[in-house]
Symmetry: C2
Subunit: 305 residues, 2 copies
C-alpha cells in the first residue's frame, strides 16, 4: 500500500519566483489528504495531475493566508465541477466563518456537504480516523492559533505465509490467524500455532507535519521516531532572533528537532523569500541531522512498508 507525500509549495508568506505557498498531498492506499492550501493550490494540483475529486479530507494548520487562501478557489472548483461526495475539513475555529461569509456574498450553495471540524490547536489529540490512518494535532507556537498534524497508519494484521498454511482452513480461521490467534480444536488444544504460519505485520508508517512554529523541544516527544518529519525552516540560524520575533524556526533548529525526535527522515520548507539559493539552509540542517531534504515543489517521498 502506498504512503506517499507530494510537496506543492515551499514558500513562506511572500511568494517568490517559482516557489509557491504551502500545500502538500499525502496519499495512503489510494486516499488523498490535502495538508494546507496556499493560494494557487488548485493549479498546483492540475500541474501535478492530482485530481481534486479524489481529495476527501483537508487539514489546515492556521489562518495565515499563505496556508489557506487557495481553499476558496479549490472549493469553488469542486462545486462548479458538480462534486457530490462530502468533504471533511479540519482547521482552527473561524475558518468556517471566513468561508461561509464568502459563500453568502457570492450566493454559493455548495453542491456537496462541507463538514468542518474546528480543532483545538493547543492540544495533542486524535481528531480523525479512517480505515488507513489516525490523525493527531500537534500544538505549534505561532503568532496565531496554529497546529501541525501527525498521520499514523493503523496497526496492521499479521501476514499469512501461504506456503506453510495447511489445506482446509475456514475463512474465519484465516482471519483469526491474521489477528495473531492460534487455531484450537474443540478441547482447546492448539492445532496450529500462529507463529508457524504467519509473519510479523508490515510496519506502520507515520508522517508529522510541523507548520509555522517557534522552535519547541516538547514537540520531539510527540513526533518521536516518525518515519518522516516536515518542519518549517524559514530562516538560517544567523537570523534566529528574527525567527523568534516572528514565531518561526531556523534550519538548524529544524535539524536539531529531527535529531532529538530520532525521526528517520526530515524535510524542511517554508523558506523566506530572502533566500534565492536554498543549499545553505539544507547544509545547515544537515549539520544537526544528516537525513534532511528540501521540501521543494514537486518533491515526492514514498515510504516503503
Amino acid at each position: 500500500m502506498e504512503f506517499e507525500l507530494k510537496i506543492l509549495g515551499s514558500a513562506s508568506a511572500t511568494p517568490f519566483m517559482d516557489r509557491h505557498h504551502t500545500a502538500q498531498v499525502l496519499t495512503v492506499g489510494g486516499t488523498q489528504y490535502l495538508i494546507d492550501c496556499g493560494e494557487g493550490t488548485q493549479r498546483r494540483l492540475m500541474e501535478q495531475k492530482i485530481r481534486h475529486q479524489r481529495i476527501h479530507t483537508i487539514f489546515i494548520s492556521h489562518l495565515h493566508g499563505d496556508h489557506f487562501f487557495g481553499l476558496f478557489g479549490l472549493l469553488g472548483t469542486m462545486h462548479l465541477n458538480g462534486r457530490t461526495e462530502p468533504l471533511r475539513l479540519f482547521g482552527p475555529p473561524g475558518l468556517d466563518e471566513v468561508l461561509t461569509t464568502q459563500f453568502r456574498h457570492s450566493y454559493t450553495h455548495l453542491s456537496f456537504e462541507l463538514e468542518f471540524t474546528p480543532v483545538d490547536t493547543t492540544q495533542h489529540l486524535q481528531i480523525f480516523e479512517d480505515k488507513n490512518l489516525t490523525v493527531h494535532t500537534l500544538p505549534m507556537r505561532h503568532r496565531i492559533p496554529c497546529c501541525g498534524y501527525l498521520f499514523r497508519e493503523k496497526p496492521k494484521r499479521r501476514r499469512l505465509l501461504a506456503e506453510r498454511l495447511p489445506d482446509g482452513l475456514t475463512p474465519a480461521q484465516l482471519s483469526a490467524l491474521t489477528y495473531g490467534d492460534d487455531i484450537l480444536d474443540d478441547y482447546g488444544q492448539v492445532l496450529l500455532r500462529n507463529t508457524e504460519v504467519t509473519a510479523e505485520p508490515k510496519r506502520t508508517r507515520s508522517y508529522a507535519f510541523c507548520s509555522d512554529t517557534l522552535y519547541t523541544e516538547a514537540l520531539a516527544d510527540m513526533v518521536l521516531g516518525v518515519d518522516l518529519l516536515y518542519h518549517e525552516a524559514t530562516f538560517l540560524d544567523d537570523m534566529r532572533d528574527r525567527a523568534a520575533a516572528t514565531h518561526h524556526s531556523t534550519a538548524r533548529q529544524a535539524g536539531r528537532l529531527a535529531r532529538r525526535a530520532q525521526v528517520h527522515r526530515l524535510l524542511i520548507g517554508h523558506f523566506s523569500s530572502r533566500y534565492r539559493d536554498l543549499q545553505p539552509l539544507l547544509a545547515e540542517a544537515k549539520t544537526q541531522f544528516e537525513w534532511t531534504e528540501l521540501a521543494v515543489e514537486g518533491l515526492t517521498v514514498s515510504l516503503a512498508e
Copy 2:
C-alpha cells in the same frame, strides 16, 4: 501620456492550463488601476513585472471567486511588504465583510489604510475621479450583483503652438490660452486670438470593462463610441441557451454589442474551459465586428492620444 491595458487572465470560472482568472491592469499617466483580481493575480503581476506598490485603486466587478479570490493574497503581500500608502477599493457590498472576517481570524491589522467604497451595481453612475480619469459603473445582468467599469480620460486643455506664440506672455495668460480663452487688453479688446496660437486638445481616451453579463443591448448607449471595449464571451453562439441560463454572453453577442456601440476596438475574454482553441471564438465575434482581439494573458493594448 500612456493609456495602456494589460490582460492578466482570460479564463472563466474553472481555470484551464495556462489560462488564468480575470485580472487586468490599466495604466494611465503612470497611475495603475487593477480591474478584478482572480486567484493568483499577485503572481501574474510578478510575471508581468508590474509592481503592486504602484497600484492605488482596485475595482472588483462581482463576488464570484474567479474575479476576486486573488485579493486576499495581494492585500496580504502589500501588508507584509510594509505598504503605507492608502489603497482604494471599489466593489459590490459585502466585499468588505468577506475581507474583514478573514483579517479578524488571521489577526491581521493592515499596515495601510484600505478605503472600501461599495458600489451600486444596478446604476450607471460616476464613482471615482482623480487627476487622469473618471470612472462610471456599468450595470451588468449576472446571477449575483455585478457591474462593469467605464474609464474615461478627463477632457484635456488646448495645446500651445510654441512657434506661433509671441514673446512676453505671462504664465497666467499661457494657462488661459490652454483653457480656450483669448487674450484681451485692458479695454476688453482681443490682443491675441486663441485659435491662432493653440491647437485642439489631444483626444481623450476611454475603456469599458464589461464583466460577466447576459447580452444587454442597453449597454450600447453607455459605452457608445469608446476606444476600447472588453466584453466577456464565455461561449460560442451555438451555446447561447447555456449562456443565457448562466447569465453569460457568446462571442457573437459580444461582437454585436461592439458594433451597436460603434466602439473602436473590441477585446473578448472570460473563455469557458471547454474551448482549447480560441480561434473559433475570435472568428465568430469578427462576423459581427471586424476589430476584435482575444484578451489573452500578456496582451497589451496601448491607445494613442
